[in-house]
């Protein structure tokens, strides 16, 4: 009964199919294996010379190609579109002023789609297929980590414009955002100056907050500050009742906030709801910039603090020009923020390096990079040739009712970048 319910032709078909399948399988496998064997032998002998793949950058004409790689779709598009806008502005300005070494910039634009794997893929495309002289972009730490091996293997250049968690210094990447000693440590310095003794740490669950908080813990121990709590919320988490309960129960007199994106809104609304205020328990945030304030709601964050290296309100002639140019191109309502400024600066720094080197060649640029300066909107920045970061001034800012952030404290001049915190005794053993 059971077997008769199965279609009759099956058994003979399957046995015949098997007899045919095996040879095909065997052939396919053999083909694959033989291909591997041959190629591998060749590969082994060729390995030594394979690093430093020959560059295909074409500098013979009167233009030179550069690549912009930002997420224009997916969750990071909100932030990265602003960086792309300011990169476009910088390219336009440079071209209007005569280009780089007399060559006009030709931008090849790509979408990273908010996925690290896409960043790696597009980086390879820009370098190997489009033959760009340098790539500008990336935002999340994971996108940078995904691109790093590509740039090192192809020996190309990436300019990365966002503050990040430090502990990295690739010869093929220039980091024009802040490293930890230019943002996190000044933020803690400020809290210490204000006499805060009990700090609560809250962050999104990813690399930057965890690394930042590791540093803060070491800093606190050396400076007599007590860390009364350390909480992480999954990215996109929107229920902060429990975390704010813990915060309130801890008796903290300040909060260091490394939350990302949407989570900030829910956090600050909850913070306000349970009756906490910026006067009694100030929150220092490192991921809230001008364009996020509107989405969080000014009334929820007015009076709270941020730590960055640039605000739209920074008072300098370069910044006035930059803000005016940006608003002229993209509209009065668009604010400028730290990552946008760092991206704008990165293109100008690359121009400075190329002109100092007199060449678009990667090795020549690496050689010439040390000491290249640019009068950026944030103040004068200088490239450090050893770790490829730049010296930047740190500002603590206060969010005001008009949605802008105003500096209330600044460091004594530009801070030398120290991605591995080698200059801080208390940070020993962190990396």
């Amino acid at each position: 009964m059971t077997s008769s319910s199965l279609p009759a032709p099956t058994p003979p078909r399957s046995s015949r199919a098997r007899s045919l399948a095996l040879p095909v399988l065997a052939v396919a496998t053999a083909l694959a294996l033989s291909a591997c064997g041959a190629r591998t032998a060749a590969g082994d002998t060729g390995t030594a010379g394979s690093t430093g793949a020959a560059s295909c950058v074409d500098t013979s004409g009167d233009t030179v190609k550069i690549g912009f790689l930002n997420s224009l779709s997916g969750t990071m598009a909100i932030s990265e579109q602003t960086v792309r806008d300011s990169l476009d502005l910088a390219a336009e300005e440079i071209n209007a002023a005569g280009g780089v070494l007399g060559k006009q910039l030709e931008v090849v634009a790509e979408d990273g789609a908010s996925e690290p794997t896409v960043f790696a893929e597009k980086a390879e495309k820009l370098i190997a297929s489009d033959c760009v002289a340098a790539v500008f972009g990336g935002w999340t730490s994971s996108s940078r980590k995904a691109m790093l091996p590509v740039f090192e293997a192809k020996d190309a250049l990436l300019f990365y414009p966002v503050q990040y968690e430090g502990l990295e210094a690739s010869p093929n990447i220039f980091y024009t955002g802040a490293t930890t000693n230019q943002q996190i440590i000044p933020g803690m310095d400020y809290l210490a100056e204000q006499g805060k003794k009990k700090v609560f740490l809250v962050g999104s669950d990813y690399v930057f907050p965890r690394t930042a908080n590791k540093i803060i813990n070491a800093y606190a121990e050396a400076n007599g500050i007590e860390i009364v709590g350390e909480e992480y919320a999954p990215l996109g988490h929107t229920d902060f009742a429990t975390i704010v309960n813990k915060l309130k129960a801890s008796g903290a007199d300040a909060v260091f906030n490394t939350l990302n994106g949407d989570s900030n809104v829910a956090f600050f609304k909850e913070f306000k709801n349970v009756g906490l205020t910026a006067d009694a328990v100030p929150v220092v945030s490192v991921s809230i910039a001008e364009e996020e304030v509107g989405g969080i709601g000014v009334e929820n964050v007015a009076g709270q603090l941020t730590a960055w290296n640039y605000y739209q309100t920074v008072d300098s002639p370069e910044n006035t020009t930059f803000v005016a140019a940006f608003k002229a191109k993209y509209g009065e309502k668009r604010p400028t923020s730290d990552p946008m400024e760092a991206a704008y600066t990165s293109l100008h720094l690359w121009k400075g390096m190329v002109e100092k080197a007199g060449s678009f060649d990667v090795a020549a640029i690496q050689e010439a990079a040390d000491g290249v300066t640019f009068d950026a909107p944030e103040g004068t920045v200088t490239v450090n040739g050893d770790n490829h970061h730049i010296a930047k001034t740190a500002y603590i800012g206060e969010i005001r009712e008009d949605g802008l952030i105003y500096p209330v404290w600044e460091s004594d001049g530009p801070i030398e970048p120290d991605p591995f915190l080698e200059g801080y005794d208390w940070a020993e053993g962190l990396s």
Binding site: T2, S5, L6, P7, P9, T10, R13, S14, R16, A17, R18, L20, A21, V24, L25, V27, A28, T29, L31, A32, A35, C36, R39, G43, G46, T47, S50, T51, L72, S73, E110, D111, A113, E115, P116, T117, A120, E121, K122, E124, K125, A128, S129, T140, S141, S142, K145, A146, L148, P149, E152, L167, D205, Y206, V207, R210, T211, Y232, P234, S431
Partner: protein
């Protein structure tokens, strides 16, 4: 109990020219695919494009498994990212350990962790253990979850939701354990793959050949499974689970096996994805990528042999090409594909081929179609385990009145 006449190919076989014989068509298509993948593609594509194709092939491996579990088994597997991720992370862990050298500590653990390799990482220093783990761990996890769900006869829809929640939970877990998993950054910066330098373009080509070979093997395995008694049972379980139970079989076992095979394929796909792309991160395992795997399968034809492969490659290729020019358009396009294909072409573009043949009056089952897809119209329960994508137009017409 006797099968409808349309499902028995025997009467037609004699009248049909040899090149239209299903077996010839299937293995002919297979040979063609092998020739294109192993012969043509490496010659005409640049290193960059070939590596891109290798990445698509890894995604296609997941699709082959989904074709088996979903197309044939009717299980809507919404959490394949978990198994893809398991395979990818296992391989990545091995590569990180191998890069660190004997007794060494992977770089990210020094930076973000305690600088100590956890005990459960240690076995993966051994390449043999790694390969075994890649083959067995995803399949093992799937077996456990499958037994838990199918044995208790949890509804098909519940299974879909649970597998989706599993993907969400797995991604959160990976992110949360940064010291040992690399957190959101995932694992990256691999230098070698079983001793071969990954910066060398020749070895990248070798990886492509491995991916192509593995994919072909998987397709062959699915074909062999489908024409075996297991394949018949699987389709029967999809269409009439209770009837199979009454016949004395345990549908749970059949489903678990198909689910485990799909998981194993996804794991292998992930394991090759890591060296090909150079990174594996929680972004590759969550809810969204897990559903993304289904698009290609739906488009290519979930119940066909080569459909999922072609669909997965086509979708990945379209995404790479289209998202460059029109990032926002791509999202609309992807959404529209889901809507149009699933709602109106439940058997993917393979349906179009079938319609075309039918219009020409040739009542030949499509290539790779299971020989017996009994009509599902006899059931009136709203909570049948799954759809009947292979339902032909005639059956659909017969049953259409029921809910009109």
């Amino acid at each position: 109990m006797s099968a409808p006449a349309t499902t028995a190919p025997a009467p037609n076989a004699a009248a049909r020219p040899w090149w239209r014989h299903p077996r010839v068509r299937v293995w002919g298509g297979f040979a063609l695919a092998a020739a294109v993948l192993l012969g043509v593609a490496p010659v005409v594509l640049s290193d960059f494009r070939l590596n891109l194709l290798a990445k698509f092939l890894c995604l296609a491996m997941v699709a082959v498994g989904i074709g088996l579990a979903w197309g044939r088994g009717g299980m809507l597997v919404l959490g394949q990212g978990v198994f893809f991720g398991l395979g990818g992370y296992l391989m990545a862990m091995h590569m990180k350990l191998a890069d660190a050298g004997p007794g060494g500590v992977p770089d990210f653990m020094l930076l973000y962790g305690d600088g100590v390799v956890p005990a459960w990482w240690e076995p993966l220093r051994d390449p043999v253990v790694t390969v075994l783990a890649i083959l067995l761990v995803p399949a093992g996890v799937a077996t456990l979850l499958g037994l838990a769900v199918f044995r208790r006869r949890v509804r098909g829809a519940y299974f879909a939701i649970l597998s989706q929640a599993l993907a969400a939970a797995f991604a959160i877990l990976l992110v949360g354990q940064q010291k040992v998993t690399g957190g959101t950054n995932g694992l990256n910066g691999f230098r070698s793959f079983f001793g071969y330098d990954l910066a060398d373009p020749v070895n990248k080509r070798m990886l492509y050949y491995v991916a192509a070979g593995v994919l072909l093997v998987m397709v062959a395995v699915v074909r062999l499974l489908m024409v075996s008694r297991f394949g018949e049972l699987l389709v029967a379980v999809r269409d009439q689970e209770n009837r199979v139970r009454f016949l004395g079989y345990d549908p749970a076992n059949v489903k678990v096996v198909a689910y485990a095979v799909a998981a194993c394929f996804a794991g292998v796909g992930g394991a090759l994805f890591a060296p090909v792309v150079g990174i594996v991160s929680p972004a590759d395992v969550g809810v969204i990528p897990s559903i993304g795997f289904l698009v290609g399968v739906a488009i290519g034809g979930r119940a066909t042999l080569l459909g999922p492969v072609l669909g997965a490659i086509a979708v990945s290729w379209a995404q790479t090409g289209l998202s460059e020019q029109f990032p926002s358009f791509w999202t609309y396009f992807q959404g529209a594909l889901f809507i149009l294909v699933v709602a109106f072409l439940p058997n993917g573009f393979a349906t179009l081929g079938g319609l075309w043949r039918r219009r020409r009056g040739a009542a030949v089952p499509g290539p790779g179609d299971a020989p017996a897809d009994p009509p599902a119209g006899t059931s009136a329960h709203a909570d049948d385990p799954g759809p009947d994508p292979a339902q032909d137009a005639a059956t659909a017409a017969r049953t259409a009145g029921r809910h009109a």
